[in-house]
Amino acid sequence: MSHPVASSSLWGRLLRRWHAWATIGPGVGFIILFLVIPSFMLMAVAFMTQGPYGLAQMPLSLQSFRELAGFGFFGWSPGNLYTLWRSVWQTTIATALVIVISYPIAYYISTRPAHLQPLLLLIVIVPSWTNQVIRAFAWMNILAPGSALTNFAYNLGFLSEYMGLFPSTFAVVLGLVYNFLPFMVLPLYASFQNLDHRLIHAARDLYAPPVKAFFQAVFPQTLPGLMAGTVLVSIPAFGMYVIPDLLGGGRSQMIGNLVARQFAESSNWPLGAAAAMLMIVATLVGLLILRRIGRRAGGGKEVVL
């Protein structure tokens, strides 16, 4: 963009700089003031001590991190570490299921007539726009004791009588899959849209069995979408709070619940802040691992981030 009149003089340059700040400043300033600064404050809280009402107070200490590692009043307990580990594997299972469901769905949408595709995508996405409490509530109704699905599971012998399908780890994983399915379908669909179908025909012409044709001709082409989708699904799923809280019992709580509990019920802000930091660090480690997997699978090319 050239500005033949405005940028010719010093005055023009100043005006332009002022205009840049006037347009970009409010939005970025808002985010810095109300999100970046609060994040740093939360980090500071992690290094403070628990006050009488659970709020943070001076002096600075590493007490909250010791508590997070499990050293409490009654000696060491592995509870928090279990929670972290459970978050990792529940996220992993849910992400794997989302991938398996999303491949056929994304492919199906990409093979429909072009004018229908945006509508079909919207149909997949819109349920995820309803409030997550309502979505979890909906599943509670379906999985509750006495519901049609629960009776069905009971008749098949999966459940003992008077039990519901929730609260359970099964319900948590189901809720995660339900929540994050669109986040995988969207990037995969974008990959399928640009798919080079000649490669599939070539593979079929050379008598590759379908499975081999998929992994040699289709999969590498959809890798960028898959990696993007995996990041979009697993990162928020890992930090999920509402679904494990409503659909899970005590033994399917995730790290988001650990954080929330310190700020809601058993007030201990420094411990909550430390757990939040652990969550962010674990998320970054997860991103690095995904990035490495993506690079290896993509033959050295950057396919994620």
């Binding site: 970009i24 939005g27 600064i37 349920p127 726009w129 409490v133 109704n141």
Partner: protein, 273 residues
């Protein structure tokens, strides 16, 4: 040589419908039971509007509905204004070295809800202790919602501006349009579709949010999701189905509006003409 495998197409279509069932059955279930004449999930003796009546008669629920509407509309208006200006600035000055800015714009999108919420809660509580300002209330919730809506609006506006012909911009200059004239007669009409969908996207983001609202709300600023949450914790009454059904309806309406306005007609839109 091409072998036709019709079962593959049939299976694919079947899987699509199964997935739709998976996605929509829970929502339909809630809507259906909001019309249930009985106070039960086990039986459905007939249709009735009684839960909508008890919902309308519940002052707490109506208060929460009012708070939700005020929150969604106010935050969406503010976020659309700030976000549109930001998106425009990002576009105009995209050749300046502003790559670092994008981190601030993506931060609200990638940050886990829970960390987002407690950060802002810590901030608001501390500021309130120090200055007496920003008591947790509808105001702090509006600030919180604006902070996560702004990036989405900015990116929508930016992507529409990038798609249009940069020569049009110079044409307005060649025709000696004053900056305000250009903004009013050229930029605003060009981004109209994105403004509208940005506004409705902000509303859906606001309605969809629970976690950030929960941690930034005060005792007198209960919104619908918070009301539903505490109702679930206390033991559900069927009017929760009714209010949930209304919220589902609201989101689907907003989605429809976004869908209509995002399909920009090339002939009528100056940006893509």
């Amino acid at each position: 040589m091409k072998r036709r495998i019709p079962w593959f197409q049939v299976g694919l279509r079947g899987f699509w419908y199964l997935t739709l069932l998976f996605l929509y059955v829970p929502l339909v279930y809630v809507v259906l039971y909001s019309f249930n004449a009985a106070n039960s999930y086990a039986r459905f003796p007939g249709f009735s509007l009684r839960w909508y009546e008890t919902m309308l008669a519940n002052p707490y629920l109506m208060g929460a509905l009012y708070n939700s509407v005020v929150l969604a509309l106010t935050s969406a208006v503010i976020a659309t204004a700030i976000g549109a200006v930001l998106g425009y600035g990002m576009y105009r000055y995209r050749e300046m070295k502003l790559g670092w800015l994008i981190w601030f714009i993506y931060l609200p999108i990638v940050m886990p809800d829970i960390v987002y919420g407690i950060s802002q809660m810590t901030f608001f509580v501390t500021i309130h202790d120090l200055t007496g300002l920003l008591r947790p209330s509808l105001t702090t919730m509006i600030i919180a919602h604006v902070s996560f809506q702004v990036p989405f609006v900015a990116l929508l506006i930016y992507s529409q501006l990038v798609r249009m012909d940069p020569l049009l911009f110079e044409a307005t200059q060649d025709l000696y349009a004053a900056p305000l004239q250009r903004a009013w007669f050229f930029v605003l009409p060009a981004i109209r579709a994105s403004l509208i969908s940005g506004f409705f996207l902000s509303i859906t983001l606001s309605i969809d949010d629970f976690v950030i609202s929960f941690f930034t709300s005060g005792p007198d600023s209960t919104t619908l999701p918070i009301f539903i949450w505490s109702a679930i914790k206390r033991g559900v009454t069927p009017e929760i189905n009714a209010i949930s059904a209304l919220m589902i309806f609201a989101v689907f309406s907003a989605a429809l509006i976004i869908y209509v306005f995002q399909r920009v007609r090339p002939s009528r839109d100056p940006g893509t003409a």
